[in-house]
Point group: D2
Chain length 321, copies 4
């Protein structure tokens, strides 16, 4: 292999830049050139492709977002679109591709692999919802960002004796909400994976009030069965002792300097992706399993659903005493 390429796709995640840097600099070892593709699959189809040297990734390891930018691309979902993409890869003499992104992006990677092009995927998703890796790039940073917000909110909550509902990201996956809830000391956590009746929520908050807690914290995943506004209305109606307030953290969770964990994970994954590609692997994602970085077939990654370990949910309940 003489020339490979790298793109970031889907929602951006802190650590993507550290991963791009690792891809570029690892490839330089065996003398492989790296072409950076801008704006994901859209930029690939449009030929927004440029050579990247060691200096072009200098000073980016600590930056959030992605210097390669990212975009959605409907065209790539069609066969015609993917053919255009392959044509561009060939036009530029590119022999392999590293795709850094979430579930949808990895599906795209699998399609290219099926069409015969060597592709290795790297999991990046602040939701940590990708099967085959214990952690995705960006999840640790997002967790710490959400936690920072919750630490701030708890102070004002305690000063006023309030119950606060904090909505965090996670459409299908409660990982971020559950871990934020445990680390933030939440009284209740609501996630898609677990059905909790509104009556139970009200009861727990009321108990917190009666026990003399100075505030109550309810962390809610975007995709929880009961939506934030619904929970707020119920608690207000029930008069749980505390005044009720709501904050939706929103896109703040995507930004920020990547944590040490995310920079290290992204670096290890990026380096391994290049090694896999150069050794002739394709159709795999590199993932973190325990302490090791391992290849996992993309076929499995996109067809299996990551399960959240619900013993954490029980732990959250025990610790909210």
């Amino acid at each position: 292999m003489k020339r490979i390429s790298v793109l970031t796709s889907g929602g951006d995640a802190p650590g993507m830049n550290a991963c791009v840097r690792a891809v570029v600099r690892t490839a330089l070892g065996p003398g492989v050139e790296v072409m950076g593709i801008k704006r994901g699959y859209a930029g690939l189809i449009d030929g927004e492709i440029e050579s990247m040297g060691a200096r072009s990734v200098g000073g980016i390891i600590q930056r959030g977002g992605t210097i390669l930018q990212t975009a959605r691309c409907e065209e790539f979902k069609t066969l015609a679109g993917r053919r255009k993409a392959l044509r561009k890869l060939n036009e530029y003499g590119i022999e392999g591709l590293v795709v850094i992104g979430g579930d949808g992006s990895l599906r795209g990677a699998l399609e290219l692999h099926r069409m015969g092009f060597p592709v290795v995927g790297v999991p990046a998703s602040i939701d940590n919802d990708i099967w085959g890796t214990d952690m995705s790039i960006g999840a640790d940073t997002a967790l710490n960002t959400a936690l920072d917000a919750i630490d701030r909110i708890k102070e004002t909550a305690s000063s006023h004796g309030r119950a606060f509902l904090v909505e965090v990201m996670g459409r299908d996956c409660g990982y971020l909400a559950l871990m934020t809830g445990i680390a933030g000391g939440a009284e209740v956590v609501l996630i898609p994976e677990k059905d909790v009746p509104l009556e139970r929520v009200a009861e727990v908050v009321e108990q917190a009030y009666i026990k003399g807690k100075t505030h109550a914290l309810i962390v809610i995943a975007e995709g929880a069965k009961h939506k934030t506004a619904e929970v707020a209305a119920h608690l207000q109606r029930d008069e749980v002792g505390f005044e009720v307030r709501t904050t939706i953290l929103g896109h703040v969770q995507r930004g920020g300097l990547p944590t040490a964990f995310d920079r290290l994970l992204a670096t290890r994954l990026g380096a391994e992706a290049v090694r896999q590609l150069v050794q002739g692997a394709s159709g795999v994602m590199v993932g973190l399993v325990g302490n090791k970085i391992q290849p996992i077939p993309l076929e499995e990654v996109v067809n299996r659903r990551k399960e959240l370990d619900l013993t954490f949910y029980e732990m959250a309940e025990v610790l909210a005493r």
Copy 2:
């Protein structure tokens, strides 16, 4: 004077604890005892009053919120309520009161002064909307908190090529929004003090797109004429080039460790409040004017409206090129 008291009232603001600490420790110099009143005027009426020593304010200078807590109090707005409050103050042998809070709290302080009780006010408001002081306790911290969120959002905005609407606090006062906008490099700032047509907003965002900016940032004060959702809808309808996203920062802005500026301001104001009270002053607020801490009649404070210097608005426009 042998015994004075201190309370925090209204919305909490980072730095209130540093102010309480300064009140308690400054009073110890001339041998004055300080009684801490919990939960603002509500706690005063209910007699939630305790003696505070030097150690009771140890380790609080860096904490957000207020250890004295705060609450709204309808009863205090009635004459009967204020009479109860005065009765409690006399019951506890308290000869003077320091009120730390925003506009409404200072109105309450003025009422007690009019009824003959020695009171000195200290301005605390993250909105920085109090007449008679250049800065209120908490405004600098809130500004930095909002800015931190905006720095994060800009990264994800740039990665996706998006226009972001960020709503910050400020019902009647655009201070926080305007300063956040300048310091965050916003393309447009919308505040209550300045009417900007939606067409103009769309034009500026579109120009940013055309100039090749990777994102556009619009900072909107809660109390701006055009509400955030309205602006978002207009931009979407207008197809300004960028995709449009919205984040409402919410109560996160109230929390957080106070900045050096807020700790210093709060400390100076708390120390001066005690000096004023001990020297026999009443019916004044201590405020920051230029570099000096000065007493200002509460009568003026509550009757005048702080004006925002709109030359900052022009500067924001110039710098958004």
Copy 3:
């Protein structure tokens, strides 16, 4: 079991409070009372022991340091001292002990176990030098703190075109230095586990200068063979192109709000320690192995030396291009 106790010992580590909280609240489930022992083994011998309820650990999950405090204790290293300690435990009707601390503290725990008292250890050490656990409480926070300092230093280094030597903690173990170096994008990392001649350091820094890098970063563990001052002197003598500056991060690395990772790890370890103790286990440490929390005999923990995976060192070299 009706009553257990918990102490923190050795150097403090962010997350110790989250662990104490988990111990107290987990024990409440099966109705076990928890006694908090102040100042480690010293406080145990002196009988500084108090009952802890659910409320006594409220609001501590986000605080650095340890509310139980910690201290060195020479007396406990003697048989007479340990006998006093056991006597105190019996005096208070305590039937089991959770020891949160580093290597030396776990040795003490093993001694008590050998004398027949039920003890479970929890690894806490910002150096991450404890055998039997992938991560110790505090290491992730320390890593992020060191990284934050390095991000700051890189900016000023780039502005001046300087080579910066940054000394981080780690007397016998290069974990913190190596991971900080990779995540911070260091040109060279010096650790106790790897001997690098000074000539090689100078060569790498000189190469960085010639390649046009705007700065060079050298991260040095406290316990590296060549001390920081020695490296600085050598680089200055060698005239490597960049001006040379040194910063020793020091105790700042011990403080700070614990990260999400450390709060979660500490919570899981604390909960499992109680479960182990209640189930009758003793002489074990609970550790993180892959994704699981597992008991490991203290005998092994204190007799084996944690090895640093030196493939990370090679990765650091590759990425410094």
Copy 4:
């Protein structure tokens, strides 16, 4: 005026980039082109000069350090060197210069003005030691950085019952140390402007121990009469109750994202510098006086010494109770 230039010189300070951005974008209003000079006076002599457009300063407002870089320059201190500098300015058709830097840099600016070239200075110094401005660019950020370190150190100090000596920057000026000390709740502050005998330091620390404080904090300016090591040795000899530890913050204080205050100050100063230059002013520095930005003759700036208001010192003592 058609073309002006801007350089940053001396020690870098967070906010310099925000100032460069303001210079460039403000000048665009009246159609003035801005040339950026790299590496201060050294780059001016060497002709490292490039045109800067609105986009070239995009995304830099939040970055620490200076994109124009900075350097020391012995040659500029000679008449021959300054003649070369003037020659370069004329060569590039530059009609005015904005110099952003500290005391030494402003002296250089004055020399150019005396030789007949239009120059306006902008004060940037984390030490806040420049006469004629209440605050210099970078001082607020450095203060918050030092404070963050102190907040961390206090936690570990409390956990161990220790006295901590923290050395902060400030060779001739105790501003940073004194303000950090007040905002950090220090027991003692040692600054160049105030002579405190070592016996007094020991006495205060011992009193803190006797009063039951869990730690003692001594903040020492680099340039204080008694050096940090000397103070540490004295306290150890005196056996003040607490164990003694030392941390030297070092260059970490120069880095970091600029605070809101510094971004706003830098923006206002940069904008005003351009206005002054375009209106024909020369030989002045723009400074913050109270709430206003005002021109001050450079002649005065470099010949007068900024005095530290020692009433703050008394306040620090009162509050350390």
